[in-house]
């Protein structure tokens, strides 16, 4: 590695972290790490942006200014509008920028992109408020997920891209012995980017889910068009603005990375995705649209769709610790995480604990009381559950009550700071293993199903079947029996689902760490790609090797 970049240490540390896979964070997740001033300055920036045009983008001649974001905490419009452009304008500008960007050296691209991350860092608090008031995440989750964690994910993608692009020599002399003399060729190897990359964002994690693909496409020499969810633009608009600023600071075309906003009533996603010059698509969102993206001919796509995540309960040391951990996992951001557990498989004869057998009913009771207790806890409920991003999620909770026995009714979650917040505690339902129609689809939001199985063997079989047929991003399992644990890992990995075993305390199945966990495996219907394995960057460019007589 011969990085001349000012940021070479950041990149080389990130590459080391990718390979060590131990804990590493370039951007600390604690708000305090950013100094006393950062929080109030972020608040001021957010407040000043409200009810104003978002002027930070370097994209000129908008056809109109649009915006429809509404805070799930106040149910009021943010009033921020963004410049909108014709699809053709976006494509033409991206194509022009591509001719320049593809010729920029990998080192210079890396420098621009780390510079962008450093600029974004200065706006973590503004991004946090923007995320909170578009997604409904709590402030602290908004800060961590959209700020440092997202930046770390972006850095991971760019560092791995840097490594892959630098993996083979750029030029060699090839000399093949041929009798008395030899044949000599000069060979050059060039990683040729594919073209324009489209990044399609989702409403719940507007930066965390989008920046890995964005930075992976950019480091490999592709240009990018970022199409956020119309209800969740502001956080990623800041990211795009700072990338554009970093490009401009180096004299490069800001259109290398463009924001493409649209409105719910006039979506431009398909028109962008189907454009022949769009070669790469990164997508996070629902399964139906994701499957449409995956089957588009001539595109390299990276999707993260819906999945049905299982919890397999076999035996536990301490049911209280387990119930506490799982209640947090199900409540965190009201189940609006792709990693949230949904289906709890519990044997009809109950589970073993260090204090003896626990019946099915007692296991269920331990879990339900932890879940409802957390939501009702005035110190913790609002902070952990946050708000519901979308009205449709509330309706889904309501209608889920018709499909199974209701063990815990959903209720409002008291929020002292935002009394009007759109909230909902988890509905807990009980059903039987044979009624797979009830639990075989993702029920996005605060919906938890307890499924009574014959035994752990059936629990594993059903969790595996769900992952194979409908996808799964993660699986939580609890067993004190090593053979059962090994069997669960074997069975779930055969459907490309990672297992989190016996988590208690301050770590949850929902959390996938940058530089350590491969988020989404890409092996089952939950998505076709992983954050961040070598394939995630390698598929964005093509090695071309020229030869000439020496």
């Amino acid at each position: 590695m011969a990085l001349s970049s000012a940021y070479s240490e950041i990149i080389s540390n990130a590459i080391k972290a990718i390979h060590a896979r131990t804990f590493f964070a370039q951007y600390p997740e604690h708000p305090k790490a950013y100094g006393e001033d950062a929080a109030p300055k972020g608040q001021v920036a957010f407040d000043s942006q409200r009810n104003h045009k978002f002027e930070g983008l370097l994209q000129s001649n908008a056809t109109e200014w649009i915006g429809e974001e509404v805070s799930p905490y106040t149910l009021e419009a943010l009033g921020v509008t963004y410049p909108a452009f014709d699809v053709d304008t976006l494509i033409v500008r991206s194509g022009r920028a591509f001719e320049q960007w593809k010729k920029v050296s990998v080192e210079d691209r890396a420098e621009v992109l780390v510079d962008a991350l450093e600029r974004i860092k200065n706006r973590f608090f503004e991004i946090a408020y923007a995320t909170q008031h578009t997604t409904g995440q709590s402030f602290i989750m908004s800060f961590q997920a959209s700020g440092p964690h997202a930046n770390d994910r972006a850095l991971e993608a760019l560092a791995l891209g840097y490594e892959e692009l630098s993996r083979f020599p750029s030029a060699i002399t090839w000399e093949k012995p041929a009798g008395k003399s030899s044949i000599k060729l000069e060979k050059t190897y060039r990683p040729i980017p594919k073209g324009i990359g489209l990044v399609i964002g989702c409403s719940t994690f507007p930066t965390w889910n989008s920046v890995p693909g964005l930075f992976a496409s950019l480091i490999t020499g592709n240009t990018a068009i970022v199409k956020p969810h119309p209800k969740s633009i502001y956080p990623i608009a800041v990211v795009v603005a700072e990338i554009q600023a970093a490009l401009q600071a180096k004299g490069l075309d800001p259109n290398t990375c463009q924001l493409a906003v649209d409105s719910s009533s006039n979506l431009i996603t398909k028109k962008l995705a189907e454009h022949p010059l769009v070669k790469i698509i990164d997508y996070t969102g629902g399964s139906a649209f994701g499957s449409y993206i995956e089957q588009l001919p001539g595109k390299t796509s990276f999707t993260e769709k819906a999945g049905v995540n299982s919890v397999i309960l076999d035996s536990v040391a301490d049911i209280k610790a387990v119930a506490q951990n799982l209640s947090f996992a199900t409540s965190l951001y009201s189940g609006q995480m792709c990693t949230a557990p949904q289906n709890f498989f519990i044997p009809e004869n109950g589970i073993k604990t260090n204090d003896g057998e626990l019946s099915f009913q007692d296991t269920v009771n331990a879990l339900t009381s932890a879940i409802s207790g957390l939501a009702a806890n005035p110190q913790m409920g609002a902070g952990i559950l946050g708000a519901i991003q979308n009205e449709a999620t509330l309706k889904r909770v309501e209608s889920s009550k018709d499909i199974a026995d209701v063990l815990v009714e959903p209720t409002q979650v008291a929020n002292a700071e935002f009394p009007k917040a759109r909230t909902c505690s988890p509905v807990v339902l009980e059903t039987n293993a044979k009624d797979f129609g009830v639990y075989e689809n993702e029920l996005f939001g605060p919906i938890v199903l307890f499924i009574k199985t014959k035994n752990t063997e059936e629990s594993i079989r059903l969790a595996k079947e769900m992952a194979a047929k409908h996808g799964a991003i993660t699986c939580a399992a609890y067993t004190t029996n090593d053979a059962v644990a090994a069997n669960i890992e074997d069975e779930m990995e055969s459907v490309f689902t990672p297992v989190s075993l016996n988590l208690t305390g301050g770590i949850f199945v929902n959390q996938h760490a940058t530089f350590s966990d491969f988020h989404v495996t890409g092996g089952n219907p939950a998505g076709n790609a992983t954050f961040t394995n070598p394939e995630y960057v390698n598929k964005r460019f093509v090695w071309v090797g020229h030869r000439k007589m020496a």
Copy 2:
């Protein structure tokens, strides 16, 4: 890398070669390197196999024994029959073997596969005769392409697979600081194979084109079913037999790699390809079937299809050296190589040479006389052109004469050793740039088109357009002008086509070296994959990371 394997040096040298990309060969291409006895023993083995069952496979209970290979040199049937099996039998056996093979360590898999290559090495001469008398290649080409070069390609794929599978630690402790204490997880990372890999062979390069995918699938823990072209089974049957012997020697299920023969009248390829347990498909052959393979849902496919390879003539130092080189390139195995040049773009005002301007007509004359001279040369013609694999290729040559002006008529190539050989010297046609219907398809076989263009700029534009629309595996260019050379490289790499510049002497555009050239870029319609880049192995398995409380 911690290889305990007996073959660790071979693998680590291969990994070094992959990264150095300078000349490297584990298996020498000179027949003499294999000792005095090797050639006659190979001849005896081949002669003894003729008109007999191929008994070397460890696949029992065949439904029937079939075979329809015919020597292009004698036009006589080889009389070799192979065991045939129902698709369901092949799949069930492969699925059973998968349960065992996926659990074999990467080190042990590597050991088995290098052992297989060493066993194959002992049969290079038999494979050479088998290749000659199925494909029509000359003996020396058969030896090199199906023997050492194929083995090197297989080794390249297995070594890169070994590296990728060993790239991340298999287990780590992840410890995240959390205030006064820390959160500690034990994480394991497992590369999970996708399932059954199908390898679909072609008639002209039965081992060279098939072993990279075969060894890439096997090293990554997938099982393999090899479906050769019914007219070209014998060479790959030896390869499969030796892989099975190496598996058995280690007490592993030989069905980890099976041969699946069929007949022209009852092809089983689609049934295999569409089987839900087949997850990976490697394919070499025509474009229509290749595109069918690529669009099959739920499969990871690696295709090498047809392409239209161009020669751009702008200016040369010495037209004689260039004509000699290009006549060899077009004649080698009678144009039946995927890398054979087809379309020669020549400016109407001719080209510059060190001896002054050469008119279009004089350029054409220099090339045609070199091409027809080579075919007529009694010392060289037969050895370079070999024989025509397929009757359909002869018909294609004949009918090509209707589409453009014939500059050189195709003729028989005298072959003293095999007077009945199916041979054909290149037909050379002339057409105009505007008649793109004439030259925009691959005309497989000894068919060369000289296309008169306005100037080099138009030549480049057309070569680029052909590659983008119809695919290209390579492009030969001749120019003494550095700016023109750079422009050709820029333009052709934008359609993912490598350029070979100013080749003269003993190196030809057709030849793609193992460990150095990325054969087929995967970026244009000629195919979606490369021998051998990291993607070529990474797409065959999925990283799954499990976590548990430490």
